[in-house]
Point group: C2
Chain length 224, copies 2
């Protein structure tokens, strides 16, 4: 308290927009808020930033606490700091989004925490300014997914081209021409066709592909 003691401090929290992709829809993980004020309202999952951790670490810790997952793709959305954004106290919150494969999140843990995957187009009203955070995060991944190969984080390691296309359609919010899409994919050598065939989603079966991160780092140019 030596330098800045004449200034007042505030609570700082992090809120996580956890994106998943399932049933051809972009989903967000939300739950009922467990504390006052606003107990019982739909909400993003968040937590307070403690004195000994960076804001990035706080976001990672919060995500880990909820999902048990490490090494997740997370990026900051921005700080939300209206004075009355939280109905209880003055809290500044920093939003982060995370991209996970829904299959990596155990149903058991999910239900234990009482959170649910909800279609991003059908979100209920959320606590505080959380809807705004989600919109902003969605906007950001829309942009970023065109120029960086981050979409794969939302898919299993092996995926079909149709799955990949549906993902891009769900995030971008509009249909994509199948042939044009596949043409562009074929130009990216780091999206590798395997000899494996997925028989779950069609009778004929579809080739499974994988994203080769190492090949991407050498070759590295992505554009969709």
């Amino acid at each position: 308290m030596t330098y800045y003691s004449e200034h007042s401090k505030v609570w700082v929290s992090v809120d996580c927009i956890i994106f998943g992709f399932d049933e051809n829809k972009l989903k967000v993980l939300i739950g009922r808020r467990q504390m006052d004020p606003g107990r019982g309202q739909w909400s993003l999952y968040g937590g307070f930033v403690s004195a000994e951790e960076s804001i990035d670490m706080a976001a990672e810790r919060t995500l880990l606490e909820l999902t048990g997952l490490h090494n997740v793709y997370m990026r900051q959305v921005g700080a939300f700091g209206n004075v009355d954004r939280d109905p209880g106290e003055r809290v500044i919150s920093i939003a982060y989004y995370a991209l996970i494969n829904v299959k990596d999140y155990s149903e058991k843990l999910r239900t234990e925490h009482g959170v649910e995957w909800v279609n991003i187009e059908e979100l209920p009203q959320l606590y505080s300014d959380h809807n705004q955070m989600v919109s902003e995060a969605w906007h950001q991944i829309k942009q970023r997914m065109r120029s960086e190969p981050i979409g794969f984080r939302l898919l299993p390691q092996l995926f079909t081209l149709t799955q990949l296309q549906r993902l891009y359609e769900a995030v971008g919010g509009e249909e994509i021409d199948k042939r044009n899409f596949r043409k562009r994919i074929k130009e990216m050598d780091f999206i590798e066709k395997t000899e494996l065939i997925d028989k779950l989603s069609s009778k004929r079966g579809a080739y499974l592909y994988r994203f080769n991160k190492k090949a991407f780092n050498e070759d590295s140019n992505f554009k969709l």
Copy 2:
């Protein structure tokens, strides 16, 4: 202190990356830090967020304090929150960038505050993580200037096409073909040619243009 009292609070500050354009260069306003720790180091201009103001208001207040300017284009860059980013105490800082016309900032006020316009390519080492803030802010305006007509904020109301081109070159960091540039400008009807001629920067003289905001809002499609 009723709801969240078990959690610790932190100081939150705002730091302003104030961009200007002069002598065909993108410039940033920096000054010598007036307080400990780090007194005397080159630094962005900033201030603490008080309990009664939003973070956006804190940024506006800080900018007003330094420049006397209202209604400036300001956007949040993001939150910077490493534990030891500030050498004195744990402070989370939210960076904002502002775009101003250097002519709108009186030399008198500027010297009173002891700040200077420095070419963004030639910035010295700045206090704390301020260089990182500047890089990130620069990156963001580079992106945004291609899709939104915000560059005009850095120019006088009346400007020549060469000035506009030099601005885009300075921000983008690469040369632009003159004819292609002017072709695209001509397609945007909200960039209006006036009958006025600027004789300062060339012997022959160049037509002055103005950005018509109202026309833009009706017509509205910008791409550079």
